[in-house]
Amino acid sequence: MSAPRRTPAFYGLAAVFALFVLFLYGPMVVIFVLSLQGPEGGLTFPMRGFSFHWFGKLWEGMGVVDIAAAFRRSVALGAVVMVLTVLLSLGAGLAFRRRLKGAGALFYTAVASLIMPSIVVSLGIGLQFRLVDTGLQALLTQWGLDGLLEGYGTAMGLYTSALGAHLTWTLPFGLLIMLAVFNRFSPAYEEAARDLGATPWQGFRHVVLPLVAPSLVGVGMFGFTLSWDEIARTSQAIGDVNTLPLELQGLTSTVTTPAIYALGTVTTLVSFVVMGATWALVTWLGRRR
């Protein structure tokens, strides 16, 4: 475009953009700095020395909350969500390229999931598992399996209800990315592979997969990071143990030391590491091609 480059409008908009970036990152930088408060420091400036004191406190646990355990749970759940999001979105993406009955309904269900108020989804999943619990307990009573009945807690948990709740949030993003990728994907590559005698599996493995691999890495990153931060959908659909963001949300109203900033710094670093790894992997895949 040959727009006049440095008009007054350009400077005005550039200023708006700069202010917006400052608005986005400023508060984040502030809590990174404050998480390095000395042992005497408080929740606000001034800084009273520099130390990793609050990171140590964090690792010891905050009150009754075992942060390290919640951290491990969230990483594990995020990893499972990531793998499932990649596999299921790829499957659906491939299916949408061919004649799929009910493609429209499936597409709109996924979009509906994306814009559905999370509290409603969460309530629904919570209700569903409560009813499953009631049903199972009634069955166990009927069959006289008292031993099992006593040991039975709830079907709700990290890898049942919470996993399902997270997938309703990550899969629509995965599908939208796959549809965007395959919309711009020429079938000529596969046809060429087939003409050269490749089986459908070989065509997929050696032609389609390498071409969409960078996008799959992107889908994986969406899966992990969205799961890593998820609160609203998980809130009513998790059993006895909490994920890290849920613990964090609870801590906002009780913790009054910079340890909470240290926790913020750690979770943000994890997000940055995942984004960095994604970027590195995509670049590497691009070079190999």
Binding site: L123, G124, M275
Partner: protein
Amino acid sequence: MKSLHLPPWLQATPFALVFALFLVLPLLLVGAVSFWQATDYELIPAFTGKNYVDVFAGCANTEELCVTLKTYLSTLKFCVLVWAITLVIGFLVAYFLAFHVQSTSMQTLLFVLCTVPFWTSNVIRMISWVPLLGRNGLVNQGLTGLGVVDSPVEWLLFSDFSVVLAFVHLYTMFMIVPIFNSMKRIDPALIEASRDSGATGWQTVWNVVVPLCRTGIVIGSIFVVTIVMGDFVTIGVMGGQQIASVGKVIQVQTSYLQFPMAAANAVILLATTLMMVWALTRVVDLRREL
């Protein structure tokens, strides 16, 4: 065009199953349970309309607004404010990126810069305002230091102001991405034609760019509107757990195990939100635009 031996419906089955089990079925249950009775400790699957009557208890009174309507009005107020602010900021930022940044690599870099925070924790981004807006925060230190105010300003944190600020902080990204995407697809020839026909810069923006970004604006608006309507986390944390919202009502009722009431509220919230989305989608056909 066969890419695998598997038939397409089998490839899509796991994906579809997740939504059947964790979206469609739960929503049907919410609908059903909203008509159930309950005691303090169990749900009774017997039909009643009482939950809906209770939600609107006192709403026939014309003198004073009932609790439900007040809560919806408050939530709608946040919705409209956040929508308007994110739309203006989102449009300006996307416009700058799409039309004023010349090189594609610079464009990508700045675009990524805007989206990175989206992949970090929302709660952390909320509490990161505390050291700035709190009673002894940077803003108050600055204001009292300069002598603008005598005592610290109290309404900066845990107020309507901080709630709107946090929403804008968290969700402007949802406006920028679709609007930027729409702007990238505008044929530059159209803008040149507009200029050659004698339109001023402002006329070009209003009569050419805005109509052509309609899809992006609508998609962004749907995201922002639905997020704010159902929110309870942001309003909870940034409102100091003192501000009511529809989502918060449902969350509180659920935590007290009042499932039928929570379900009735959820159905009403869903109906309200879907009507807003429907009104917005009258403007574009979503699937054709992908």
